[in-house]
Symmetry: D2
Subunit: 344 residues, 4 copies
Amino acid sequence: MPNKKPLNIGVVGCGYWGPNLIRNFNSLDGANVRTACDADERRLAHMKRLYPNIETTQHFGDLVNDAEIDAIAIATPVHMHYEFGCESLRAGKHAFIEKPMASSVAQCQELIDLAERQKRTLMVGHTFIYTSAVRKIKEILESGEIGDVLYITSRRLNLGLFQKDINVAWDLAPHDISIILYLFDEVPVAVNCQGKAHVANGVEDVTNMSLTFRNGKFATVMSSWLDPNKIREMTIVGSKKMIVYNDIEPQEKIKIYDKRVEVPPHYDTFAEFQYSYHYGDSHCPHISQIEPLKVECQHFIDCIETGAKPQSSGIEGIRVVEILEAASESLRKHGAYIELRRTS
Amino acid sequence: MPNKKPLNIGVVGCGYWGPNLIRNFNSLDGANVRTACDADERRLAHMKRLYPNIETTQHFGDLVNDAEIDAIAIATPVHMHYEFGCESLRAGKHAFIEKPMASSVAQCQELIDLAERQKRTLMVGHTFIYTSAVRKIKEILESGEIGDVLYITSRRLNLGLFQKDINVAWDLAPHDISIILYLFDEVPVAVNCQGKAHVANGVEDVTNMSLTFRNGKFATVMSSWLDPNKIREMTIVGSKKMIVYNDIEPQEKIKIYDKRVEVPPHYDTFAEFQYSYHYGDSHCPHISQIEPLKVECQHFIDCIETGAKPQSSGIEGIRVVEILEAASESLRKHGAYIELRRTS
Amino acid sequence: MPNKKPLNIGVVGCGYWGPNLIRNFNSLDGANVRTACDADERRLAHMKRLYPNIETTQHFGDLVNDAEIDAIAIATPVHMHYEFGCESLRAGKHAFIEKPMASSVAQCQELIDLAERQKRTLMVGHTFIYTSAVRKIKEILESGEIGDVLYITSRRLNLGLFQKDINVAWDLAPHDISIILYLFDEVPVAVNCQGKAHVANGVEDVTNMSLTFRNGKFATVMSSWLDPNKIREMTIVGSKKMIVYNDIEPQEKIKIYDKRVEVPPHYDTFAEFQYSYHYGDSHCPHISQIEPLKVECQHFIDCIETGAKPQSSGIEGIRVVEILEAASESLRKHGAYIELRRTS
Amino acid sequence: MPNKKPLNIGVVGCGYWGPNLIRNFNSLDGANVRTACDADERRLAHMKRLYPNIETTQHFGDLVNDAEIDAIAIATPVHMHYEFGCESLRAGKHAFIEKPMASSVAQCQELIDLAERQKRTLMVGHTFIYTSAVRKIKEILESGEIGDVLYITSRRLNLGLFQKDINVAWDLAPHDISIILYLFDEVPVAVNCQGKAHVANGVEDVTNMSLTFRNGKFATVMSSWLDPNKIREMTIVGSKKMIVYNDIEPQEKIKIYDKRVEVPPHYDTFAEFQYSYHYGDSHCPHISQIEPLKVECQHFIDCIETGAKPQSSGIEGIRVVEILEAASESLRKHGAYIELRRTS
């Protein structure tokens, strides 16, 4: 039976993304943001102005030790995800951790194990799988309309915002990767990644990743903090149709193209052999305009209450981090093919 | 002193591209297409209908043995470039070979050596370096306006036309690579390439290449025969400004963005450290609309008459093929980093 | 029974458009361009170069008096359409006249009457009704998919090419008007037109026309020779769906939007009254890429041979000219509402 | 000397637009929204949730009679602007009235006179003249870069939101008209307007207006509630260059085209006479992203404190309403040319 009292949420990290979590959790009937935590007093003062009823603190311990807090949402720089996640779970709080889940596969595994032992909900902020657009694409794929998915190519580019502790792949590619894994419903067997650091020494600002899956499935992910335009575009090539998903478009984010190559079933001579190209209609399905972060926050609340496994649980989180870890290894090894061990 | 009599040209290969060569050579005052050669009678009949004064033959020997023919343009499938190129040069004809120059670096080198010995002009059909757009970009780069070029990312995608003897990288990437080498004025030190064959066994229809240059310079080249849209787009990221070159745009092919990341020159504490982002005007220079193939054909005629080295000579041709050869090796080795030996 | 011998065509006017007629008539099995006529020797020399077998003349009489010529296509400035059309028909030739058909309704009527008396085919070059895109739209309208057509708004803008003898409405709007009449299948009851002449005294270079039809149907036509972009766009608003037809798009010229306003069927209080807005999918039907002028030229040949009335006969021609004449009158009367007398 | 105590603002009308006024006035240091007024309790409850410190009332008298309130912002349906504006001014409050200022020229004049007698600031919500884009265009025009402005054509189209008390011209065209008057710095001498009501009886949902200025200057304004796309586009054609202002573009709202027609200065024969077309670069100036409503609200506060005349004062308000009134008259008279009496 659902809990009638709203869940009390603590949020740590009030920089770029944390305020969006606060706003969305606060807009839900089942949740209430009790405390916001940040090292920077000015950010806390700003939160207080926007939400006069919120408590603020510079000490993460105040969240963990507050018996009234049911769940903690972590929107700090990545290198603090693991520590804050562990402390939250150990204190018996449910944990919502922004993407990427942690700095290594090992950290992710510990968080998963801890959540299991503590019987607490652990969810990772893979926001895009909660968007109407990505869910619509998943629905189209499952309907069989586009045939077998052959490959996916994704680009996420813009000017800035540079991170200091992670490279552009760790910053931007978790979005593409989480969508690709969700759509393929399969993890890759290996990763190649090349890239370069042009602005900050040792921090790649452009990366070019290739993901190899079983049975010839393939994906590429291009990430950049150094592009004049904001681009968030993914092409899903199927054997029957093709989809372009342009997240920047305000209205028509998905376009389905009835286009394909047709290989003749049999032929006698090489000269007879001709591919034919099918060009048909294109189609933009209507997509409801719901803030995905609201859907995601509601899902976290629902999972806490029902005990269900989140759609972006620790498992999904560790899969993304495993790919990022392999990408980093590939970058160090000049783009070499890095096989993934745990492709469960 | 320039030759007053128009040069007689033989063209072999009247499939997709050859007719464009015939049309353009014929439109020049200094040239005259004397004979068209193709294995397919119907293609020859079609050429005859369009150009009643042209001779046609199914035998390449008829071109080589015709003392009136000064130069031969080769627009056949790639695997015939080497043989036809050698025969032409040996017969004392100047040779114009479509891109990619040949099937291997070794073949290219033989063609170069042969042309030198025969004192004949050898030119490769890297059409894009004769476009107003690419020349304008080169001019902008040389002016210093965009600062140091940090990286170039290029995509050339469409549905079809599948080749049977070469993969999509050999088919489409010569365009991107020849432009990138022209703009960087430098050859890469290594190549990574991943990709997959989805339609024809063993013939990759999507490839994702990374080129590593000295001093952190970098380029990526994405090629596909399986994309719903025709895309020919290149982004040139400089330290001061950025350029997007969209070859599909009918008018404004080049857009220069006054955008960059500014790193603070010095700072005392890490907390003080902040990148700043500069956003300024954008600008589309007017580009004259001249058919690049006409410029290219004229350049071939001029080089024959003056003895000058073409802007896309055998050297440029072999450099592109060396990268393609390395890309093929990288594809076989799961995307491994393949160093280029002869980066002269 | 169809004529086996190709029809001999004479073409008068080899400026901007005439060469397209020559090329297309020549590409048809059933036609052969025998003679090209123009006052300018250089244009004739150019035609001769392109089509060595064509005869050329500076005297229109040479076309009319040539017993071998079956039909004459008139692509001269508008003020010569009437005279050349009459001479052609009187000489027993079939006549194809470019749009607009003539300089006045009276001239059009004489041409229609003459063609009838002479039992010759009279066709007007309303090219757009022969395009795959406009025919597809007509088909969609007839299917009932978009409901009742409420209004059509059309824009045809570009920089140049200025005409000297007619204003921009006479130059560009015949395209829009012929499409609108074809789609509505109805002639307007009145025309308003405002505009201004900025470059050449007395020759409007921008006009803004409104067409009033029966039953609340409505259309607007904006024409300009002074716009930075080439725009050819038409929006057809139906009671159930809406169509945007963008002729500049190379591929997806038509887009159907499943959008509409829904008025509540009944309501008790004003406060209850709320419109609702339906937003659904959008859809781009595939359109075959056939040169419309070829379809149009073939249709002319077919009509001559079968005696059928062309889809753009003198009737369609006079309807367009009547609207243009009314537009000119409205322009002189400061945009006043000019009723059309013969709205048959 | 500026007032140190923030001005107390009352806002009447909490439907679609009023909440934006509340949010913006509240964000300013010099203002404080004291009371929100609306007939609908649910809207007031919603305001209270967003701004817990605000007072709410269903009675406009509570604003007028509150001695603490310095200024009243009126965001009600248009037919209430006059009454609420008069009551506010009579009570000694400064008045900010949304566009269009009132339902008639007579009402506007009374409001202007009353404000003058009461020595109170009267400002009209012509938001667009406070946008960075429109101000940038004005700056470009004043610099002489585009030469003389020949004509302006504007379109403001979307699906909905239907108004019940005014037609689409009164609803949407005030934006276009206020921008056009600001850019031309001149009022038109006459108005033509055609249009039709398709959805609600007697309420035009599409209108097509032409504005005639002195010296050949011209403007057109197309307005529609029945278009599949949201369009807010204006083209400003100058004798030297042309500007397209696309307000929907998130970044590059303004594009300047170096294009023009060049008329030869003199010529001997008609045959020699040729227009030439100049095609040069295009350019998108960077525009700062400031919320125009915030600029506008600040300007109202500043004008109250300094006594300066607002840039969108009652004068600008009455000019827009005079054009709308003439447009309504023209609509009734089938698009007739309606001269404006008071073109001061």
